[in-house]
C-alpha cells in the first residue's frame, strides 16, 4: 500500500508524520533530536529510507544525522564543514565592513536523485558542500563562495544562507539570501549569477547583478528550464534556466512571502503563501491563505477552505512547503505556530495533520510505494 511520509523540521526537534494515500489519518513520531533546531530533513529519491537531517544548536553547533530505515533510527555522521583554502576571504557584514567567511549551520540538504550516498549541503555563511559517502565527510565546492561577486554578498536578517539547492546534474541551481540565484552547468565547479530581471528596492542598485534577497526557488520536474521564485518582495518566473526573470505577482494580496511550490503534474500550477510585509511576518488581515495560480502566475486565487481566516498571525518559512507526487497531488506546509497542514486535493481543502509542534522550519514529503 502506498505510504506518504512527511518530514518536519522544527525549532525543537524533528517529527515524522505518516499516512496512507488518502492522507486523512496520520501517525506522528517524534521529537527526534528533541531540543535541537532541525533546519531541514530530506529523503534520498534513490532510496527513500535514506534520510538526512541537519541538527543544530547555538550551544553545541552542527550535527548531521542519517537514517537508513525511514526515520526509525538515526546515526550522527560528519559535521566537519571546513571551508577550503587557508584564507577564506571575506563577505560584507551588516555594517558594510568585510567579514571573514565562517561556518555557522546547514540550512538545506539536497540528496542526489541517483545515488543515496551523495548529498549536497547549503552552509551559512554561503557555501556549498558535497558528500559522496553518506554524509560522513564533506568537501566544499569552492566555486560558489569564491565567485567574483562573493565579497559583496551581505547576509539577510536570517544570515548569509544558501537555502535552495536544485539538482539537475550536472546543472545545479543555488539561491542565497542575500546574494541571489546562481547556476552551475558543470556540477558545481564554476558558477554564474542569474539575477537579470530582479528588482529589489532594498539595495542601492535595484537591478544589481548580485545582492537580491531570494527567498526560495523551485523548478518543475519535467520542465527544468522553468523556474519559479519567491523573492523578498515579488514572485518571479524564468523560462530560460534563470537567464531572465519576469514578475508574476499579479493579483496577490502581498507579493512578500517565503515558500513557493509547483504542482508535480501541472506545469503552470503554483502555490505561494502571501505574508503581509518584511516587517509584519504574518498573513494579511490575520487570514492564513495559500494562493494558487493555474496560469503560471499573474492570475491567482485564494485557497481558504480549512485554513484559519481570523486571528492567525503565523509565518511560513521558505523550506516549509512541499508537494507530493500522487495523482491527486498533496500540498503540505508548516507554520511558526506549529501546525502542519495538508491538502489532499491540490489545495481545494485543507486540514491540520498536527497543531501544536514547535515552530516549523521545514517540511518535505515522500511517497513510498
Amino acid at each position: 500500500m502506498t505510504q506518504v511520509r512527511v518530514l518536519a523540521g522544527t525549532r525543537k526537534g524533528a517529527f515524522v508524520l505518516t499516512s496512507d494515500e488518502k492522507r486523512e489519518k496520520w501517525a506522528v513520531s517524534g521529537p527526534h533530536f528533541g531540543g535541537w533546531e532541525i533546519y531541514h530533513l530530506k529523503g534520498s529519491p534513490a532510496d527513500p529510507n535514506r534520510i538526512y537531517a541537519s541538527q543544530n544548536t547555538g550551544w553545541f553547533g552542527q550535527v548531521v544525522q542519517r537514517s537508513d530505515d525511514g526515520g526509525l533510527t538515526w546515526e550522527p555522521v560528519g559535521n566537519d564543514f571546513t571551508y577550503a583554502g587557508g584564507d577564506p576571504g571575506t563577505h560584507l557584514w551588516y555594517d558594510g565592513t568585510p567579514k571573514p567567511w565562517e561556518f555557522k549551520r546547514i540550512w538545506h540538504l539536497e540528496p542526489s536523485k541517483t545515488d543515496p550516498d551523495t548529498v549536497y549541503a547549503g552552509a551559512e555563511d554561503a557555501a556549498l558542500f558535497k558528500s559522496t559517502d553518506g554524509g560522513v565527510s564533506w568537501t566544499e565546492l569552492t566555486g560558489l563562495r569564491t565567485h567574483p561577486t562573493g565579497p559583496s554578498w551581505q547576509p539577510g536578517a536570517g544570515g548569509l544562507c544558501p537555502h535552495t539547492i536544485i539538482l539537475q546534474e550536472p546543472r545545479i541551481y543555488v539561491a542565497i539570501s542575500a546574494a541571489g540565484t546562481l547556476r552551475s552547468d558543470d556540477g558545481g565547479e564554476t558558477w554564474r549569477v542569474i539575477n537579470r530581471g530582479l528588482l529589489s528596492d532594498g539595495i542601492p542598485d535595484p537591478d544589481a547583478e548580485a545582492g537580491h534577497c531570494v527567498h526560495h526557488v523551485e523548478a518543475h520536474p519535467t520542465k527544468p528550464d522553468t523556474l519559479f521564485m519567491q523573492k523578498h518582495w515579488d514572485v518571479m518566473r524564468s523560462d530560460d534556466a534563470g537567464e531572465n526573470w519576469t514578475e508574476i505577482s499579479g493579483n496577490l494580496p502581498s507579493d512578500f512571502g517565503f515558500p513557493i511550490g509547483v504542482h508535480p503534474h501541472e506545469e503552470e500550477t503554483l502555490y505561494v503563501v502571501p505574508i503581509t510585509s518584511d516587517s509584519l511576518h504574518y498573513p494579511p488581515d490575520g487570514a492564513l491563505q495559500v494562493w494558487r495560480s493555474r496560469a503560471g502566475g499573474n492570475e491567482w486565487e485564494p485557497l481558504t477552505n480549512g485554513l484559519p481566516q481570523r486571528d492567525c498571525y503565523v509565518n511560513v518559512y521558505r523550506d516549509a512547503m512541499s508537494i507530493d507526487t500522487l495523482d491527486d497531488a498533496g500540498i503540505y506546509f508548516g507554520t511558526t505556530g506549529g501546525q502542519v497542514y495538508c491538502s489532499a486535493d491540490s489545495g481545494d481543502s485543507w486540514a491540520p495533520i498536527v497543531r501544536d509542534l514547535p515552530a516549523v522550519l521545514s517540511v518535505e514529503v515522500q511517497v513510498l510505494p
Binding site: G35, G58, W59, F60, V63, D80, T82, Y83
Partner: protein, 105 residues
C-alpha cells in the same frame, strides 16, 4: 596515564550515547583543558565540533568548563590546570564538567 571523570551535558550524552559520567585517559603529567578535551573527542568522535569550534579549536561560545567549583572556561587550553584541581581530577574525587551555558531557551 590517569583517568579523569567527565560529566557531559544532556544533549551531548544523548549524542555520544552514554549515561552518566564518562572516563577519559590523559597523561598524568599533562592535565590540561586541551588534554582532557582531546581525550574526550578521541573516545567519542561524534563530539568533535560540539564543544570546540572545528576551525578555530576554541571553546564554543555557550559551553563552559568547571571543576572543583572553579570556572576553567577561559584558562589557556595548554596551561596546566591549578594544582588542587589537577590533583582532585587525577584522584577522581571531582569530575571535569562540560556545561551548556545558561543562555536562551
Amino acid at each position: 596515564m590517569t583517568e579523569i571523570r567527565v560529566v557531559l551535558p544532556a544533549h551531548l550524552r544523548t549524542l555520544a550515547r552514554v549515561h552518566g559520567e564518562v572516563l577519559v585517559s590523559v597523561p598524568e603529567a599533562d592535565i590540561t583543558q586541551r588534554a582532557v578535551l582531546d581525550a574526550l573527542e578521541s573516545a567519542f568522535p561524534v563530539l568533535g565540533g560540539t564543544i570546540r569550534d572545528r576551525q578555530t579549536g576554541k571553546r564554543r561560545a555557550f559551553v563552559r568548563f568547571y571543576a572543583c567549583e572553579q570556572d576553567l572556561s577561559n584558562e589557556p587550553p595548554d596551561a596546566p590546570l591549578p594544582l588542587p584541581v589537577a590533583a582532585a581530577l587525577a584522584a577522581r574525587t571531582e569530575p571535569f564538567l562540560v556545561v551548556g551555558a545558561m543562555a536562551g531557551g
